[in-house]
């Protein structure tokens, strides 16, 4: 009987963890710290993509000025590194425990080349891996093909998902591979996930908490499936299949993606709507959590997979309280509280709140994006605000 009670207690405790709000909602201390990497009141100078922060609190900002475009790293309020990068080349930034992985795509000769580069918190370039992902017809300048996707891992690194021709005849057959890239920008050889006849598919997916990979492929490219179905397949952390291909979303033909959730599952999005939630190793798809934001970049996972934060919609120009509201949710999805972040009012009395007005870094740092004193190259932040207690 004593043994039985012990088991029940453990089970109860495990259940409680998923909806545990303890320590999840921080109090906002003081006015935060300010980092200034430039001055956008100067002619030709501006800052983009603010608010990407690594596990050591280094802030990565895309900065352009009359002397060129580049990436600026700041830490503790001071600029620690600057290096050049083309504005159109940079596709995404994946924060790591130390530094960042920068995803770029550019045309080299007549090819689209995708690259993941590892940069440390102080700006030192560690290494990179590149893939030729498609042919660029003469005159091409826009984004390249969609047959490559970078999926951030739960413990750092990125899985580079790639669909390519497996035959000299590009229309005859395809294969999909996955390659783990760590914070250094390098990694082991790719693993084959699947192959089949027909044209090369576009791919997407997500890596969830336990390291499992959800691969998403439009049904158009798979025997037995259809173009208005989004087809999924789970792979175990070792990249061996743990399910068959299954319909993850039906009645949808638009853009598709997936994101990992704090409870270890993945939410699937298609045609601009969240359409379902699925768990590793399962082919069943259930309704997605209703609290997922309609604007995906407004969703942040908290450090240590302890929960999620949703930056709420606010009036774009808010003459009212000028606060940004952030919902904090436990892994089970229950609401733990709302953090209210005061935003700076502009001279005309309005403030710029909204889903893009704040960001949360991999280390739990909260950063405001509109700028300080009207300078969009100056950022207010609260280091490690959402970090583990």
């Amino acid at each position: 009987m004593r043994l039985l009670i012990a088991i029940v207690l453990v089970a109860s405790s495990a259940h409680a963890a998923a909806d545990d709000c303890t320590g999840l909602v921080p109090e906002l201390p003081g006015g935060g710290t300010v980092a200034t990497v430039g001055d956008d009141s100067r002619s030709g100078e501006s800052c983009f993509r603010p608010g990407t922060i690594d596990g050591r609190g280094a802030i990565l900002v895309f900065h352009s000025s009359s002397t060129g475009e580049g990436i600026v790293l700041a830490q503790g309020g001071a600029v620690v590194a600057r290096f050049p990068s083309g504005a159109l080349d940079l596709q995404a930034v994946y924060p790591q425990s130390d530094g960042f992985l920068l995803a770029t795509q550019k045309i080299v000769g007549t090819d689209y080349v995708a690259t993941l580069s590892g940069v440390s918190h102080d700006g030192a370039m560690r290494g990179s891996t590149s893939w030729t992902v498609g042919h660029a017809p003469p005159g091409s300048f826009t984004l390249g093909p969609e047959n490559v996707a970078f999926l951030p891992g739960p413990d750092g690194g990125v899985i580079a998902l790639r669909a390519e021709s497996s035959s000299p005849d590009a229309e005859a057959a395809w294969r999909i591979t996955a390659q783990r890239i760590d914070a250094s920008g390098g990694g082991p050889a790719p693993t084959l996930l699947g192959a089949g006849p027909g044209p090369i598919p576009n791919v997407s997916g997500a890596v969830v908490n336990d390291g499992s990979l959800l691969l998403l492929v439009p049904g158009f490219f798979l025997d037995g499936f259809r173009d208005n179905q989004m087809v999924g397949r789970w792979f175990a952390p070792g990249l061996t299949p743990s399910t068959e291909f299954f319909v993850a979303v039906s009645q949808s033909i638009g853009p598709f993606s997936a994101t990992s959730l704090a409870d270890g599952s993945a939410a699937v999005r298609a045609s601009d709507w969240w359409r379902g939630r699925t768990e590793p190793g399962s082919q069943s798809v259930v309704l997605p959590p209703a609290w997922l934001p309609s604007y995906p970049p407004a969703l942040f996972m908290l450090p240590g997979k302890r929960g999620a934060a949703v930056v709420l919609e606010r009036p774009i120009v808010d003459p009212g309280d000028c606060e940004q509201h952030i919902e904090v949710r436990a892994p089970a999805g229950n609401l733990c509280g709302i953090l209210r972040v005061p935003m700076e009012k502009r001279a005309d009395g309005f403030c710029l709140a909204g889903p893009l007005s704040v960001g949360i870094g991999a280390d739990g740092t909260l950063i405001e994006n509109p700028g300080v004193a009207g300078n969009r190259c100056s950022f207010r932040f609260w280091p490690r605000l959402f970090a583990n207690p």
Binding site: P197, G198, P199, G219, F220, F221, L222, D223, G224, F225, R226, D227, N228, Q229, S250, Q251, S252, I253, G254, S271, W273
Partner: protein, 360 residues
């Protein structure tokens, strides 16, 4: 004259079909820009009338102002797709189902109005078709790299899936049907139609009956008619009339052989609509010029098809300078007459004459 018109056994068939009196209509004057025109309206089962406009510049979308039973604007409906200038909006007991062109030209998707745009069905090729039992029949043509399917699914009036997609036909890309369509009987069976490329007969219209749960009732069959398919008419004897050019043939659920459509159905030049509670038929004057507006705008027939009478246009609707004309019937029997005119202060004006519940 139809046999039903002179059949003495049908002497009571017209009881209650023709309204005793034609009250003064509610009139709504709407103005829009010069790059728009008035289009048909739709009325739901609660007396809400969605009055339509059509952007003549992009010719792919329309918008509606929904008027509540009190005549005031209830809500706006934007982004409903159009094909051939006709808005794809289906009235329901409460609200509407619409067809939205999503990220042109990616796909069409069915949305519930006015609540939002959650897509309940989506495909590159998709038809949203009325269901007299409520909801809608959706006929879509999904594909993959080596195959296509025609599949049919049923939605309820709230846009929820009533039956999942059921396959009607499939084949290789080289024999993909150029056109699809269909209609639903008053007892819920669906006749899905498609051009005969899969059978080597692009000059033929094929059909297949599916029951209300989405199970096939027949194999695919040659309807004996030629493309283009132009619509279906559900009749109160449960048959569905296929319309192709001047040809109209009736099919009973499960039948693969056509019957002759009743003479009044064959001769009708306007839209044949069911009256509320299966009380008979209304034949609505087809869209046209206002010079026709002095004519009877609705012909009313009993369930047997017997001619019972009609409704004539209001004299106030017969404006000079009118350039377009529509007559529509809401699910609750509300009659809506639209007259488009260029004689207004700003661009195009649409005058709507609304008789709430007149043909209930």
């Amino acid at each position: 004259m139809d046999p039903a018109d002179s059949d003495p056994t049908l002497s009571n068939d017209c009881d209650g079909v023709v309204p005793a009196a034609l009250p003064e209509p509610r009139t709504v004057h709407q103005e829009t820009g010069t790059h728009a025109s008035c289009i048909s309206s739709a009325g739901d089962g609660q007396g809400v009338v969605a009055t339509g406009f059509f952007g003549t510049r992009d010719s792919q979308s329309s918008w509606f102002t929904a008027l509540g039973p009190d005549g005031g604007a209830a809500y706006g409906i934007d982004g409903v797709g159009t094909r051939d200038g006709v808005a794809r909006i289906l009235p329901q007991e409460d609200g509407f189902l619409g067809l939205e062109l999503y990220r042109p030209p990616i796909s069409w998707r069915v949305i519930r109005l006015p609540e939002g745009t959650f897509p309940v069905a989506e495909d590159v090729r998709l038809e949203l078709l009325p269901d007299p039992t409520g909801g809608a029949l959706v006929v879509e043509l999904p594909r993959n790299y080596k195959q296509w399917w025609i599949s049919a699914l049923r939605l309820d009036g709230h846009g929820q899936l009533r039956t999942p997609p059921a396959d009607v036909a499939t084949g290789a890309p080289a024999v993909e049907p150029k056109a699809t369509g269909g209609g639903v009987s008053i007892s819920g069976e669906a006749l899905v139609v498609f051009t005969g490329e899969p059978f080597g007969r692009s000059d033929a219209l094929y059909g297949r009956w599916m029951d209300a749960e989405g199970h096939p009732l027949t194999d695919a069959f040659d309807t004996g008619m030629s493309p283009p398919w132009m619509g279906t008419i559900p009749l109160l004897d449960r048959s569905v009339v296929l319309v192709s050019g001047d040809a109209r043939r009736a099919f009973r659920p499960g039948d693969t052989m056509a019957r002759a459509a009743p003479g009044w159905v064959r001769r009708a030049t306007g839209t044949i609509a069911l009256l509320p509670r299966s009380h008979g038929y209304a034949i609505l004057l087809p869209p046209g010029l206002a010079s026709e507006a002095c004519r009877r705008i609705v012909e009313l027939r009993a369930p047997s098809g017997k001619l019972c009478g009609g409704v004539a246009a209001q004299s106030s609707a017969n404006r000079s300078g009118s350039s377009g004309y529509f007559v529509d019937l809401g699910l609750d029997g509300t009659l809506i007459q639209t007259v488009q005119s260029t004689k207004c202060s700003f661009g195009i004006c649409c005058d709507r004459f609304i008789w709430p519940g007149l043909l209930r």
